[in-house]
Amino acid sequence: MQERATVDYPLFLDSILAMNTPVSAERRKKGPYVVIECPEKIPCDPCVDACPNDAITIPGSIIELPEVDYEKCTGCLVCIPRCPGLAIFVIDETPEDHSIVYIPYEFLPRPKRGETAMGLDREGKERCEAKIIKVIDAKKFDRCAIVGISVPKELGQEIRAIRFRQ
């Protein structure tokens, strides 16, 4: 329905992917890990405080970009709702036949476990079906839910949002 623009806003994916300390194939097999898509120098640092394992650091002043120590990151999810830019995701590629993407979610109604939504990529394109496998809506996360979705194995790196068909 939405007509694509001739001059659309390209999300500079290269810089996002480059900014994340590359996650080794070995680490990806080991368990869930965080992905921080925060490519610009803005003054912000709650992610550092959020991590219980001190895996996230911002070297120098608060306008610098966050860095992740993947040896320390356990993919525990608590940083997701703490990021004011909603730019933190956790990916779990350990299941055999699918990937799990954990996303921040600030809309109503909240998804329910077992429901199926459409998985959207960073550009908002519908790419696959996304089964809701986990919803955490804790008070301490201040009205931002964490939603875990199951997507095709290869789309774990691409799906970043969900939409329900009306």
């Binding site: 600030e106 809309f107 109503l108 009205r143």
Partner: protein, 103 residues
Amino acid sequence: MYDYITRHPILEFKRGKKVKFHFEDTELEGYENQPIAAALHAAGIKVLSFSDKYNRPRGFFCAVGKCSSCLMEVNGRPNVMVCMEPLRAGMRVKRQKGRGKSR
């Protein structure tokens, strides 16, 4: 018929008590102390006045009392900035034509 947000993921809305008021010849409902413009917008009324020279429809623009695009006649008094003026029970609100006239 009234268009209010009932559920919001972040916000809770505290509204005053329901009151009746008059817009032109219709009786409408709104919440006490909300700006008149908010009550009208929720009732689907976007045209608040007509311009002086070309009689063009006008609505609010800034909604914070800066632009004077929302001047209406309230209780016979012209040039009331309805984006700021709180709604009271029984108010008579009319679309203003041009610069308005005192009644």
